[in-house]
Every structure is written in structure tokens, then in C-alpha cells.
């Protein structure tokens, strides 16, 4: 019986069927649900690691120890994990290891749209690209065999539309998870220069063997149709091609590194016009061109964002552009925004009010950059807030730092905020660092982390004490305050900004989505007192709306969660509680 699964659930199922017994990950859209699904299987170990580098290292250790191991992360997480990954490609595996890279063309929930197939070429890893959930499951299962047969970690590269689309999956039999024997082998696993030189030879030989495998694997196949137009494609783009160009001949690539050069040459010889359709970078195209094959690709299709059926139909199928109903000019944009009751609102309203420079980080609180809060100056990557704040201070001086904060969430701080904080202490910065501790990884759907005191299965474990940690690295001024207590938060912030020493303010309040306030009270706006000044609108809360004709603000009780922050903002005390 077939069942609907998102691609991520199918990957978890594939790993379980392959007998994987260890999995490690850091949450990141679109990859998060792979490991949350894997953790539900009996008899397996799964963990949220503090960051992707640690996840990759736990994975490498488990593999050397003989277990089939799954490591998952979003595309930018692979940057964090790249150091162990590149050298683990030299040592190779004992138990098979599959690393899943969740790429995000179109940047639905990411800061860039890098194409991680590039990692496959750079680190010399086999790369598999499924096109629906069934393939996601089957390819994952096969990837473990490829990993052990060729003694290499394997990258499964997926995209948002694969990870978050449900398609039908036929489940297969589960191979019992067996841990292979461990035998000490320093020349294979200790990457001293002398040993690593020997392993590089192995890597290059392996790439030649993998190239042969790529020619014969059923993951790469030709669907011969009308020879006038031949398409080479991979991943979800295959689905768009099938729908847009039902008569075209297709070379579908599921195993995309190394490429099946002979198969591509044969296909090119059979078709009159050859076009490569791949989202983002011309990874396949540049290689095919380098073999002297005439091909079209990025001169037709963009380097930016996602592809679509209609884009392909228009470029190659002769389809006319779809006419518009012409209402788009009537529709104001609806950007994502902080939830009612969100503790971050208090932080960014205060940053805005005090006109501070804020070096930001990755999480729900990045939304503090948007109007009307407008409370962020920069956001680069996970953990960057503290280092960028220190750099800004070294460029512009301590006086400038008196009007500047670094803003970082609890999960992000544990991920990669600790080392830059050590740098602040070591190199005598005066930064004021705000750790927004909402007791969860909210943006990706509320995952636990070392400071929540719960494992991936929500079992109690040692709880990282952020306050104690910060003191231990040498921060003398550590304050803990509720960010929705407006006066207390502002006064603590003022004191710590003035100090020509590093400080950490832990803005502590649980995420409003998990810590729901009791419904025994309801805030409302006293219409006799409201003068229509719109100050309450400056907090950007969907619980408040303004009626222009009446020049009055109202609270929508269906939306409001009674956090009471707006009542503190109102100068006229017009916002009251029943």
C-alpha cells in the first residue's frame, strides 16, 4: 500500500530500511524533518547536534565505529560541516555514511541559494539527486550500499520542493541494523600528512571507479522520444520537464557526480538539439561543454531561483506566456512577521527606539529587520552577530560600540556564538551581546538544543547553563531580563551599553507559540482614551488594527495572546485589561 510522504520523511524511511542506526543533525529548513522522522523508528540513535560540524563529526565517528549513519543539514550547514567532510572523504567509511544537503533554490527560508552539488565536485563525493519521495527513499537506501562499496561518504542533494512535497511511496523491507566490526587502521583514519598522501591516491582511484558506476547505475537512464529535442536534467526539474515537454527525449540523471560521460555523449549523438535544464549553477553544463559537446543551458535558463513548468514550456515548448488577471497592483505584500506575544518584539522595539546599531543573526528574530521594527543592521550567517559587532567596534571605536548591540538566539549562540564571544573577551572588545533565550529553536519548528535540557525525543538530559557558560569565558557583566518588561529591559540595556567592558544580556522569555498565556484576561483599547496616535502600531503586532475613519486602534481578541506589551508602549494608558 502506497502512502503519501514528504521527501524528508521518505529519506528517513530509506535510511531506516538500509539499516542505519545512528543519525545526527542540526535543524535547518528544508532539511529539519528528516531526522525528526528518523528519531521515531525503534532501535536507532538520533541526536540534535549543537551545529553541523559536530553532527558531521559524530557521523564520521559512528561510521568509523561500523554503524550505517545519516547526517542531515540545510545547504549552508554544509559550509559549517565542510572541514570534517572534506577530510572524511579521504579516510572513507566503515559503516556507510550518507550526508543530506537540503538546498533552497528560491531562498524560501535561507540567506543564500548556493548550489551544493559544487561540494560533490570539490570534496570528490558521489552525489545523488532524487526527483520525488519514492526516489528519495530508494536513493537513500542505495546510497548506503554505494558508500560501503566505494568506501566513501555519499551526498544526497535535495531541494525544498523535494523535501516539502508529498508524493506516494511504496515502503520496502527493513534491513536489520548491524554494526560492522571495528579494526584499528591508522593509515586510513589518522590524516597525518604521510597517511593523507596515501589516501589522496585512493580518492582519485575511487573517482574513476565511481565514474564507471555512473555509466551503469539505473539511477541514470534515457527516455527516448522525439529526437528533435533532447533534455538532460536532474532532481525536481525532471518533473517540470516531463510536464512541460511531454514529447522530448530525456536523459534523467539521478547520480550526478561523477557524471556518466559516455552515456551523455551517446545521448547527445542521438538528438538534434541538446538542452540542459538544471536549477542554479551550470554544474552539469560546464562539464558537458568541457567534453566538446554542443549544448544549450544557462543562455536559456536563469541562474536565479526556482524553475517551473511554465518557464520551460515558454522557452522550449512554444507555449505563449500566461495572461495575467492584472490584480497584482491591488495587493499589498504580506511579509512574514513575528507572532503575537513574541518576546523578540520587545527587543527590537527597544533597539529601534534607542536608535541602536544591531548586528544580527539567524532565527525568527531576523524578522526584527522588517518595518515597523527596523531593528537590524546586518545578518550574514549562523553565529555572525558577535564577531561582526566586534569587527565593527574595531573599525569605528568604543564610542560607536556604546550605541551597538549583537543580537543572537539561544540555539544560534550554542551553534556558533561561543567562540566569537571568547574573541570579544580576549581582544578586549566592549560589545553588548543580547542572547534572546526563548528556550527553543523556533524558526525551524521548535527543536530542542543543549540549553533546553531535552533530547530530540524530548527526554530529560543535562541542561547547558548559558549564564554560567558566559561567565566562564570571562564576561563579568551578565544580566537576565524579560524582554517584554519594557522598562526593566531598557534600563538594563542602557547600563550595559555605557559600560566600556563586554556584557551579555540574556533576554529570557519562552517562545509565545509554546508558552501560551492563560485566557483568563483580555487586553482591550479604551476608546475614550485612544487618541489615534498609532504609537501601538509601531510594535508591529497583528493583534492590533487601526480603523482610519474612526482614528481609533482596536485589539483583535482572536489574535491577541495578552502579553501586554502594547499596554506598556501606550503613552495614554488607553490599553487596559479585563
Amino acid at each position: 500500500m502506497k502512502r503519501l510522504m514528504i521527501g524528508n520523511e521518505a529519506i528517513a524511511r530509506g535510511a531506516y530500511e538500509a539499516g542505519a542506526t545512528v543519525a545526527a543533525a542540526y535543524p535547518g529548513t528544508p532539511s529539519t524533518e528528516i531526522i525528526t522522522n528518523f528519531a521515531k523508528f525503534p532501535g536507532v540513535y538520533a541526536e540534535w547536534s549543537p551545529n553541523e560540524k559536530v553532527a558531521m563529526e559524530v557521523g564520521a565517528g559512528a561510521s568509523i565505529g561500523g554503524a550505517r549513519t545519516l547526517v542531515t543539514m540545510k545547504h549552508v550547514g554544509v559550509n559549517v560541516a565542510a572541514d570534517p567532510l572534506y577530510t572524511f572523504a579521504y579516510t572513507g567509511v566503515n559503516g556507510g555514511l550518507v550526508i543530506v544537503s537540503g538546498d533552497d533554490p528560491g531562498m524560501h527560508s535561507s540567506q543564500n541559494e548556493q548550489d551544493n552539488r559544487g561540494y560533490g565536485r570539490f570534496a570528490k563525493l558521489p552525489v545523488l539527486e532524487p526527483a520525488d519521495s519514492q526516489e528519495a527513499k530508494d536513493f537513500t537506501r542505495l546510497a548506503f550500499d554505494v558508500s560501503e562499496r566505494f568506501d566513501t561518504p555519499v551526498m544526497l542533494r535535495v531541494t525544498t520542493r523535494l523535501s516539502h512535497s508529498q508524493t506516494l511511496v511504496e515502503e520496502g523491507e527493513v534491513k536489520p541494523g548491524e554494526v560492522k566490526p571495528y579494526k584499528k587502521d591508522a593509515a586510513k583514519y589518522v590524516m597525518l600528512p604521510g597517511y593523507a598522501r596515501g589516501r589522496h591516491v585512493v580518492v582519485e582511484k575511487r573517482m574513476l571507479e565511481l565514474k564507471e558506476y555512473s555509466e551503469s547505475t539505473p539511477l541514470n537512464y534515457i527516455e527516448m522520444n522525439d529526437p528533435q529535442l533532447g533534455i538532460i536534467t536532474s532532481g525536481v526539474a525532471y518533473q517540470y520537464v516531463k510536464e512541460a515537454l511531454p514529447n522530448a527525449s530525456i536523459l534523467k540523471l539521478g547520480f550526478t557526480n561523477p557524471l556518466p560521460q559516455n552515456m551523455i555523449k551517446d545521448f547527445a549523438a542521438k538528438v538534434k538539439r541538446l538542452v540542459i535544464i538544471e536549477e542554479l549553477e551550470p554544474v552539469i553544463e560546464e562539464q558537458v561543454r568541457s567534453w566538446g559537446i554542443a549544448v544549450e543551458g544557462k543562455e536559456l535558463f536563469t541562474l536565479l531561483g526556482e524553475y517551473s513548468v511554465e518557464m520551460i514550456a515558454e522557452k522550449l515548448g512554444g507555449a505563449a506566456p500566461i495572461p495575467s488577471y492584472g490584480l497584482e497592483k491591488d495587493v499589498p505584500p504580506r511579509p512574514p512577521l513575528m507572532c503575537p506575544g513574541c518576546p523578540h518584539r520587545g527587543v527590537f522595539y527597544t533597539i529601534n527606539k534607542m536608535k541602536l546599531v544591531a548586528m544580527g543573526d539567524i532565527g525568527c528574530y531576523t524578522l526584527g529587520a522588517l518595518s515597523p521594527l527596523d531593528g537590524m543592521d546586518a545578518c550574514i550567517c549562523m553565529g555572525a552577530s558577535i564577531g561582526t559587532a566586534l569587527g565593527m567596534e574595531k573599525a569605528r571605536g568604543e564610542e560607536f560600540a556604546e550605541k551597538m548591540v549583537a543580537v543572537i538566539g539561544d540555539s544560534t549562540f550554542v551553534h556558533s556564538g561561543i567562540t566569537p564571544l571568547i574573541d570579544v573577551v580576549y581582544n578586549q572588545g566592549t560589545s553588548t551581546v543580547l542572547i534572546l533565550d526563548n528556550d527553543t529553536t523556533a524558526m525551524t519548528g521548535h527543536q530542542d538544543h543543549p540549553a533546553t535540557g531535552l533530547t530530540i525525543r524530548r527526554e530529560p538530559t543535562a541542561k547547558l547553563d548559558i549564564e554560567g557558560l558566559v561567565k566562564a569565558v570571562g564576561i563579568k557583566n551578565v544580566r537576565v531580563v524579560d524582554p517584554l518588561d519594557m522598562k526593566a529591559f531598557q534600563s538594563v540595556l542602557k547600563e550595559e551599553l555605557k559600560r566600556r567592558e563586554p556584557s551579555v544580556i540574556i533576554a529570557k522569555r519562552p517562545c509565545a507559540l509554546i508558552d501560551k498565556q492563560p485566557a483568563d484576561k483580555q487586553y482591550y483599547i479604551d476608546q475614550d482614551l485612544c487618541k489615534g496616535c498609532k504609537l501601538c502600531l509601531k510594535i508591529g503586532c497583528t493583534g492590533i488594527y487601526f480603523v482610519e475613519d474612526e482614528k481609533m486602534a482596536y485589539i483583535n481578541p482572536n489574535v491577541c495572546v495578552n502579553c501586554g506589551y502594547c499596554a506598556q508602549v501606550c503613552n495614554l494608558d488607553a490599553i487596559k485589561v479585563i
Partner: protein, 198 residues
Amino acid sequence: MSDNTTSILIVGVGGQGTLLTARILAQVAVQLGNDVKVSEVHGMAQRGGSVVSQVRYGKKIYSPIIPLGGADIILAFEKLEAARWLDYLKKDGMVIINDDRVDPLPVMSGKVKYPETIAEKVKQKVDNTIVVNATDVAVACGNVKAANVVLLGVLTAAANLPADEVETAIRAMVPAKALDVNIKAFHEGSKLYSPVSA
């Protein structure tokens, strides 16, 4: 696009429950023996932003994404969102609009006005437009959050799906404590549909 494919675009605001509606609809399509694909939105866009779920079913489905001009039905949980996604509608497609208003940030902060007459504008462009008030019906059924299942009821009638199959899927997918309200909301929703006369 093959003719035997049905494509339904479910649009709304993050938090309105579009995802559950899409998943129930997809389950019904599976029960009826179709190939089915569903595309969902996770992550940052969910936080109060414009969200879309896409359900496609038929003999063989390729793209999980509905092309521009490819949706048979647009089910909009909020009226502004019906207009935002309208270009995805087929020439002779149907729009079901929940007469609910959720102000986006630029409206809340007073930068632009909410286009009050947006549902009428959609009606002018698309003859086959149905406007219902699912929120009021859900409140009458006992929980404002059941508006998504009221709309599923409207959609079931509009898309000619067997009500008993939909009810089976609801029973399988809605938590037990919310089931009574949701079954009631579903049936009340089915009654809201009446075809637009030609």
C-alpha cells in the same frame, strides 16, 4: 498539463490551517485511487506570511507545483490572498473566497490601505467566484479554528468529491478532542456551496 489532472491551490496566511486542509484533501485523493502530489510551505514564510499549499491529483502527476494558469480551483482562506494568487487560475477555473480579512504588515503600519473591495474585483475577473463566511460558521460550530474544515466542506461540494470519503479522512487526521466540532464544521461548510449560475 494533462486534462485528467485536478489542481487545487489553497492559499492563506501562515497559521490559518491551510496545510491541514491540503493534507486531508490529498488523503481523500489517495483513497480514491489517484496519483497525488502536494507541495507545502515550511520555515520562515509560515510566520504570518502569505502561504500556499498545492494539491494535484489524477492518473499520473509530474510537477508538485501548479503552473501559472493551471489551477482548477483556488481556495482562499483570506480575500487578499485570493487576488495575490489569481494568476495561477485556469481560464475557466473557480475561486472560493473566505470573506475574512487579515491585515498584512504594510496595512497595519498604515503605509497602505487594505483594498476593501478586493473580493468584488476578483468576482469581476472570474465569473465562477464564490464568497463564503467560513469564520462565522466555524464560530457557530464551536471553534473559530475550524474555519479550515468549513472551507474543506465548501471545496468538497465544489470539486464534487464524495463527502463520506472526506469524512473518513477527517476522522483519520484530526485530533480526537477536536473531532466533533470539525465534523460539524465540515457538514455546515458543504451546505454553503451553491454553483454560480451561468
